[in-house]
């Protein structure tokens, strides 16, 4: 079974703090993603990576950065946390194979509260 783990289930940080969210997958997947989930807005893509040290912006990258130094690990960084970044953060990974069923595997999420 594919396993995607996230470092924390719940996190409380203060405005202005630097926040690191860590994600690890154990299936040698090339692609990794960070989403935020907010009620009524669904899942919105923040950043994704298709290879080590490679990253691409998603739909809402402002205020976030990412790091992928090893294939299995993808980190999301909030350089200076703000209250509007209070949200559920979901990490996902996938193996892209053309022409067949394509699946993203999600971690359990980190609920971040910024006060």
């Amino acid at each position: 079974d594919v396993k995607v783990t996230q470092s924390s289930r719940y996190l409380v940080k203060r405005t202005g703090e630097k926040v690191f969210l860590e994600c690890v997958q154990d299936m040698d997947h090339e692609n990794m993603f960070w989403y935020r989930q907010d009620p009524g807005l669904g899942l919105r893509l923040i950043y994704f990576s298709y290879d080590v040290k490679m990253k691409e912006k998603g739909d809402i990258p402002e205020g976030y950065s990412v790091s992928r130094e090893k294939k299995e690990r993808f980190s999301l960084i909030l350089e200076s946390a703000s209250t509007n970044q209070t949200s559920m953060y979901l990490c996902a990974s996938s193996l892209y194979v053309a022409g067949v069923r394509y699946e993203q595997y999600f971690g359990p999420g980190t609920r971040l509260t910024v006060t």
Binding site: Y35, G40, L43, D59, L90, Y102, E103, Q104
Partner: protein
């Protein structure tokens, strides 16, 4: 346009009834349409998916109906059970070598016993 519009936002169904969730898209470059199911405290998980060259896909009690000309697709849950209570997301993927999914806004389904 990369948007996928999903409705309704919430749905309450009696046990044994049919649950129907609808999605619409604009971009004809989408080539793959999955549905994800999310239980409280868990991440979303792939439920069922369809490609645009097929009009219907059925897996157990779950069916996707796809209308390419209308650019709409829907999830039907037959004989809905309380265990189906979850949030459902439709999604779409760009064609070619794209890896990203664009998700709908989600539907919270409650099946009453």
């Amino acid at each position: 346009q990369q948007q996928v519009k999903q409705s309704p936002q919430s749905l309450i169904v009696q046990k044994g009834g049919i649950s129907i969730i609808n999605c619409a898209y604009e971009n004809t470059a989408f080539d793959y349409f999955p549905w994800y199911q999310q239980f409280p405290g868990k991440g979303p998980a792939l439920l069922i998916a369809i490609r645009p060259d097929v009009s219907e896909k059925k897996e157990g009690r779950f069916t996707i109906s796809f209308n390419k000309s209308a650019k709409q697709f829907s999830l039907h849950i037959m004989d809905s059970q309380p265990g189906d209570s979850a949030t459902y997301f439709c999604a779409a993927r760009w064609g070619g070598s794209a890896r990203q999914l664009t998700f709908g806004s989600g539907t919270q389904l409650t099946v009453l016993p």
